[in-house]
């Protein structure tokens, strides 16, 4: 038996093909999914969008698992050795296929993937390290709250409130914001930011940003934009429940936007180039009654996911043989 690709490279090819297919399907389906998604309450919408952002990667991983399922099942002691049942095929098999073939195409493929992953990990790692450093410096320089942990007041002429950090997010509020807002408005802003802190929304966004890399770029931007909006709206809802005044939260958002705009520039010169569409959407959302959470939908999605997985496992042989055919792996 000779294989151009070992098991690792073959699995990588299957992963990439499945992920690319899922990415195309996702791009086609996303516009149709928007309307039903908008009817979900923001917290659940954010969860769905986070799951959607990972679809290509999940699809790739699932197809690789299904492709290798027959040999995994055999390896666990269940079922027969499937390799004897199709003598004309080479195998994508954990038992018989070498992990690496040593061929030039394989080296090129794995080298490219490895370098890309390493470059990405280096960039992300550097960013994470630097952000942690900057955050700790700001917490040390700011006036820490004696009441709330990881809250800090930053002396600044710009009005802002930020929750930054992933595992231990910190809330940074500018002195200008505290000066310009009424106590009830400050309380609203704090409730909103504390919701981000509790939900670890920075971590969600980082996860979405990372796993969505396999999406088509335009679709990816739309998904991440919608996710960001859903996350902000989820925290707006928390702030509205806290204050008992949805219109008050909306008014605070507009007031703070106006304070930033009044400076003649946005709050920051270096920042994501998003328009202010989110502000309008958030205010419009708060003008409507709160959407009722429907946990049944999440349960239905879980059941659907489980059924699809079972169906995939039941058709494991088909996936296995299709993948082998796709890769044109044949016995000599």
């Amino acid at each position: 038996m000779s294989l151009e690709l070992g098991l690792v490279a073959a699995s990588a090819v299957i992963f990439l093909v499945a992920a690319a297919s899922a990415s195309v399907l996702s791009s086609a389906a996303f516009p149709f999914a928007l309307s039903p998604l908008c009817r979900l309450d923001p917290a659940m919408r954010a969860n769905f969008l986070l799951a959607w952002s990972s679809l290509p990667g999940l699809a790739g991983a699932l197809v690789v698992c299904l492709t290798l399922a027959p040999s995994i099942i055999h390896g666990l002691g269940f079922g027969l050795d499937h390799c004897h049942s199709h003598g004309h095929h080479a195998h994508l098999c954990l038992v018989h296929t070498a992990l690496f073939s040593g061929s030039t195409p394989e080296r090129l493929l794995l080298g490219t993937i490895g370098v890309s992953l390493l470059a990405w990990a280096t960039v992300v790692g550097t960013r994470l390290r630097r952000q942690r450093q900057v955050l700790e410096m700001l917490l040390a320089l700011g006036s820490a709250s004696n009441v709330e942990p990881r809250h800090s007041v930053i002396r600044s002429r710009r009005p802002f409130a930020i929750t930054a950090g992933w595992l231990e997010p910190a809330i940074l509020i500018s002195s200008r914001l505290l000066e310009d807002l009424m106590p009830a408005e400050v309380s609203t802003v704090l409730a909103h930011e504390q919701a981000h802190q509790r939900r670890r929304d920075g971590l969600r966004l980082l996860a979405a940003e990372s796993v969505s890399r396999l999406h088509w770029p335009t679709t990816r931007r739309r998904i991440l934009g919608r996710l960001s909006l859903a996350i902000e709206q989820a925290c707006d809802e928390v702030a509205a429940r806290h204050s008992g005044d949805r219109l008050g939260v909306a008014a605070t958002i507009v007031k703070l936007s106006r304070l930033g705009a009044g400076e003649g520039h946005s709050a920051f010169s270096t920042s994501p180039a998003f328009t202010g569409a989110d502000t309008a959407d958030r205010v419009q959302g708060l003008l409507q009654p709160a959407l009722v959470a429907r946990p049944g939908i999440a349960l239905a999605a879980l059941v659907l996911g489980a059924l699809l997985t079972i169906a995939g496992l039941a058709t494991g042989d088909w996936w296995h043989h299709s993948a082998e055919s796709l890769l044109s792996l044949h016995l000599d």
Binding site: R127, L135, L141, I162, R221, S257, P272, T275, T279, V283
Partner: protein
């Protein structure tokens, strides 16, 4: 001892921004047009922050006074304080002047200035220059909502509040 005795301040600054950055500058001359603060993104440890804090509070100080105020309580030697001040000088966060035989250090950035720079960096590094908003903020930090739109939103809120109050009464 200072690295740059005998050099002008400009040369001194360039000498102290780091070897790797000098290679970078030599490779990409256009980078010279950027302000030095854009190139050097200092990380300040706990001791450096404490020293800066002391300079902000107490104004210009020499090494011995700084040691008395910051070092003694921490059990830190005079040399450590001296090298900390040297590092801050290299990072262009303090300036120094030689009076008699001792350097007198003074903060060259205000606390607010440093904080603003760091906040900008938080926004910049969290967004990574990309178009995706990766930072959770009460109001989109990059939002460019024009005044007309804000007025329209305020009007909508006012109308809704009036309607709600009418319904209540």
């Amino acid at each position: 001892m200072p690295l740059s005795v005998g050099f002008s301040r400009d040369v001194e600054n360039r000498l102290t921004i780091g070897f790797s950055q000098r290679i970078l500058l030599a490779t990409f001359p256009l980078l010279r047009k950027l302000p030095v603060s854009t190139l050097s993104r200092p990380y300040l440890g706990e001791l450096e922050l404490a020293v800066l804090e002391q300079l902000w509070r107490g104004g210009a100080l020499d090494v011995k006074t700084m040691h008395r105020r910051v070092g003694t309580s921490r059990g830190i030697g005079l040399n450590t304080i001296q090298s900390t001040l040297e590092r801050l000088f290299r990072k262009q966060l303090v300036s120094r002047e030689k009076i008699s035989h001792a350097f007198i250090y003074a903060p060259s950035v205000r606390r607010e200035e440093l904080m603003e720079r760091l906040i900008e960096e938080v926004v910049e590094t969290f967004s990574d220059g990309s178009t995706e908003p990766m930072l959770t903020a009460f109001v989109d930090l990059a939002a460019r909502v024009d005044a007309e739109n804000l007025s329209r939103l305020e009007q909508l809120i006012a109308e809704r509040r009036a309607r709600t109050e009418d319904d209540d009464s």
